[in-house]
Structures are given as C-alpha cells and as structure tokens.
C-alpha cells in the first residue's frame, strides 16, 4: 500500500500534512458518499470516502483544499479510472492540504485540465 509521512503526489494533485485547517476555509458536503478532491473534465476524478473525513475548500485559492482524516481511520485517495490509473494513496489520520497542479499560459496560469 502506498503510504507517506508528509507529502505525496497522485497525478495532478499534491497532498501535504499540515497542522490545522486555516480559518475561513469552507466546509464541503460529500456527494454520493465521497469527496471529489480533484475534479476531472472527463469524469476521472480523484476521490476519498466521506465517512470519518472532513473536506474544506480554501476561501481564496481555488487550487487549494483541506482534508481532515479523523483519528484511527486511514483513508485512501482513489483515482477513478480503470486504465492509466494513478495508484491509491493511503492517508493516515491527520490534517492535510491538497493542491491542484497549474500550468503557465502567457495570460497567467490555469489549472491543469484532464
């Protein structure tokens, strides 16, 4: 199983352990039992089961979200694609920051889209 201590990447997301969810972050509702931690244009989302998990969106930065995995429950972030699949990553209890990847354009930057 793929585990990490402080930082790991799965496709176009980077997950980092942090001390706590920053003030002002907006709590999200789960959909069909999962949180979509990275939406994909073609439906190949990265998801985590909602049970025992809280998920927040950063108030300012659309590319940053927060994941709280309650004590004693490890969770896997799964990539919903049956081919070219980014392997699941196990997230042990704690608080994490989830960052989406961006890329440069002459007009500024945009989120990496797939």
């Amino acid at each position: 199983m793929n585990t990490f201590k402080n930082q790991a990447a799965q496709g176009d997301i980077l997950i980092r352990r942090i001390d706590g969810v920053p003030a002002g972050a907006i709590k999200q509702e789960a959909s069909e039992g999962v949180y979509v931690v990275a939406h994909s244009e073609t439906g190949h989302h990265h998801v985590v089961d909602a049970e025992g998990v809280e998920y927040y969106q950063d108030a300012q930065n659309e590319l940053v979200a927060y994941l709280v995995v309650q004590s004693a429950i490890s969770k896997a972030i799964r990539h919903m694609r049956s081919y070219h699949t980014h392997a699941p990553i196990t997230v042990s209890p704690g608080t994490y920051e989830i960052r989406r990847q961006r890329e440069y354009t002459p007009a500024g930057w945009r989120r990496v889209a797939d």
Binding site: N6, Q7, A9, E41, Y83, H86, Q101, E103, V112
Partner: protein
C-alpha cells in the same frame, strides 16, 4: 443455504463469461430488428405495461437522441401534414443552427429519412388520412410530453426494480459476500473496464462535446436516458454467471434484457414507442485493450458518428487528417490530449520543430527536464517534461523565469522550491 465458496469448476468459468459479455458489449454486428422487437415486447409485458406499438432504430447514440426529440415535437404539434412539415422544419432549423457540422450533415440525414419513413410509413401511409384522427387518439394524445417522460421513467424504473429488487435480492441472499465480490471482480468489473470505460464513456463524452446549445442539452438528456442494452454488459455478465454457473434462479425479465443486449446497442423505452440503436460498426484497440486507431476513428457508427482515440485518450478527429504542430500542442488546454498529441507526432519531431534547448535535467525522472523554446510569434517559453506515477510523459508549460526542473514542479503546485518534497508519486 448460501453459496460461500465457488468450486474450481465454477472459477474456471470466469474467463468464459468475461469473454461472452465483452464480445456482446464490443459487438459490431448490425441490429437484429425483429429479435430486438420481440424481446422488447416481452420486457414491457413483464413490466406490466401495454406492449409498444412503434419501433424505431437509428444508427448512433446521437441520431437516436435527436430522433427522440424530433418524434416528441411532431407529437406535440400533431400529425396533420402541415404540422408534420412545420415540426420537421422546426427541429431541422434547431439542429442545423446548433449542432456541429458532422452531426448536422451526416446524422441529420440519417435521422430525417428513417423518421419520415418509419413514422410516416407506419402511421401516415399505412393508416392514411382517413384514420388520422384515430392515430392521433391512439398514439399522439397518449404520448404527450408529460406521459412520455412518465412512461420512460416507469419502464426504466420497473426494469431496474425487477433487476434490482428481485434478481439482486435473490442472488444476494444466496451467495456470501466473498463470492459476490469475487464474481464482480473477476467477471463484472473486468467487463466494465473493457466495455464501459473504453467504449461507452468515450462515446458519451464525445456526444457531450460535439453537440452544444439548447439542442445539445436535449440530446445529452436523451443519451442519458438510453440506459439499457449491450453496453450494460458488466452487470448482465455478473448475473449471467450466477444464473448459469451457480444455477441461481433468474427472472424472465433478465433473460429478455440479455436477449436485447445481444441484438442491439442501447435502447430507450417509452409508452407505445421503443427506440433502438445500432451498435458501433467499427472498434479498434491497442495491444493493451485501450481504445486506439492511428489511421481513423477508433469507434465508428453507421451514420458516421465517430470517436477518435490514441491509446485510450479521446482526441479531436482533425488531428488524424492534419496532425497538430508541436506549438499548437504546447498551448492545448487538456493535458492528457496534449500528452497523446506529443506521443502521436513523436518527441524528436517536437524538439526539432520547437528548437527546444535543455535547461535542466533532474536525476529523478519524476522531477523531469526543463526545456526552453523560442517561438517566432510568442517568444521565449519554458516547459517541464516529466514522467508521472503511471509512467507516462507529460508536458507542462511553466513561467520563463524557472531555472530548474524542481523549481518548475514546485511552481506548478504553488509552492517554493524547498517546500516541494514528495516522498511518493503515483
């Protein structure tokens, strides 16, 4: 007595059922219209609904969806010749105005002709003006817009309930969790990977992308409603295994649905009306079972509706007649398509065409290489060429001030260079 373990003989049947249903899901055989009609009638019968009277078939998910909208509009207006023409014109205008060229030209012709021939063949000519009122009473009034929606839901829900409540419960009660999961993993899920993920998802996404505007919304809705048929091979395979190999009792309904899956693509049930789809006429995969064709569409329907793909990634059809330039690809917004495009034209061509200079190469391939290009119109640009956790190479444009591949990775996640320390990348 629950089945808590499968015998070696039963396990040996996994590949047989996988193959059977993958073959059904990937079949390119023409629709067997008579067989499909007979099976659909039985489905209605066991759902406790009056049998459908009119059967139509169309050559692709798009034309079937447009036809459903068209038939609905004719019904709302009524069957008088003037109104027929008016309805035809109305839909034609909408479709012409809003649907992409390919769909417009190829699909519309495919739709208009069969609808006219089939609807007015069956309803118009056959019964003639004399019984037009009768037809209106019998068909068009009954299948008003509201009823149309209700019945569609009713048929679909009843079909699902029959499968869900009856077959599901029946099978669930008779097999242990482990066997249930084992059969799903070994049969259902693998059929889903090949049929659902490689074919149906790609077809649906292509429809989504190709038809826009108001008609697009209607088409998308209709496509979504076509929930039955050969692309449902995964769960039909799952139940078929239990029915045939474990001799669990299955309802007739399931047998009828399986029969339908064997003789048509998707189909949509309505009150009095059933719309069938032809299956694809061509499918091409690479050696890993990913949707792929280098010389034309990877999925082709009989009306020309097509999906182009490169090793599982759906691409614009134009790329297969006039390959994109490296410069176009560098600015292409979808990173998966960009990757596939670079793969298509070849990395040597890319570096050559862009006159790219290597700025920095990290020892770790997952940190990658930083390149600089100097393009005639847009000037100096830098990009990261990096291998992801799945072993595929991606190209990510980064700001021109980036000096190392690591700094470029860090920037792409909004971090400082020393903050970027992944222990693991999948």
């Amino acid at each position: 007595m629950k089945i808590t373990e499968l015998t070696p003989e039963q396990i040996a049947q996994f590949p047989v059922y996988r193959k059977k249903w993958i073959d059904i899901g990937l079949s390119c055989e023409p629709l067997d219209f008579e067989r499909a009609k007979a099976a659909a009638i039985k489905v209605y019968e066991s759902a406790g609904l009056p049998p459908p009277r009119y059967f139509f078939y169309f050559d692709s998910p798009v034309s079937a969806a447009i036809a459903a909208i068209y038939i609905k509009q004719i019904k709302e207006i009524g069957p008088t010749p003037d109104c027929q023409e008016q309805a035809r014109e109305q839909v034609r205008e909408q479709v012409r105005g809003q649907v992409e060229n390919q769909v417009k030209k190829q699909v519309w012709d495919q739709v208009r002709r069969p609808v006219r021939n089939q609807v007015w063949g069956q309803v118009g000519d056959q019964v003639g003006n004399q019984v037009r009122d009768q037809v209106r009473d019998q068909v068009w009034d009954q299948v008003g817009d509201q009823v149309w929606d209700q019945v569609r839901d009713q048929v679909r829900d009843q079909v699902w309930e029959q499968v869900g409540d009856q077959v599901w419960d029946q099978v669930r009660n008779q097999v242990g969790d482990q066997v249930w999961n084992q059969v799903w993993d070994q049969v259902g899920d693998q059929v889903l990977d090949q049929v659902g993920d490689q074919v149906w998802d790609q077809v649906r996404n292509q429809v989504w992308e190709q038809v826009g505007g108001q008609v697009g919304d209607q088409v998308r809705k209709q496509v979504w409603e076509q929930v039955l048929g050969s692309h449902e091979a995964d769960w039909l395979a799952f139940y078929d295994f239990f029915c045939q190999v474990c001799q669990l009792e299955c309802t007739d309904r399931l047998a009828d649905l399986m029969e339908l899956a064997e003789c048509c693509g998707r189909w949509a049930p309505y009150q009095n009306v059933v719309i069938f789809q032809q299956r694809h006429s061509e499918l091409h995969f690479d050696e890993n079972g990913l949707l792929h064709c280098e010389t034309g569409p990877a999925i082709k329907y009989r009306d020309g509706f097509s999906v182009y793909a490169w090793h599982g990634t759906r691409l614009p059809g134009e790329w297969f007649t006039a390959p994109p330039t490296a410069k176009e690809l560098l600015a292409w917004p979808n990173v998966e398509q960009r990757r596939a495009g670079f793969d298509m034209i070849g990395w040597d061509t890319v570096l050559d065409e862009l006159k790219a200079t290597l700025i920095d190469a990290d020892r770790d391939q997952q940190i990658g290489e930083l390149y600089e290009v100097d393009l005639p119109d847009s000037g100096r640009e830098r990009f990261l060429r990096v291998i992801c956790g799945t072993g595929r190479t991606f190209v990510i444009p980064v700001p021109p001030e980036m000096q190392t591949a690591r700094a470029a990775n860090a920037w792409s996640y909004g971090l400082d260079t020393d903050q970027y320390q992944p222990e693991l990348r999948t």
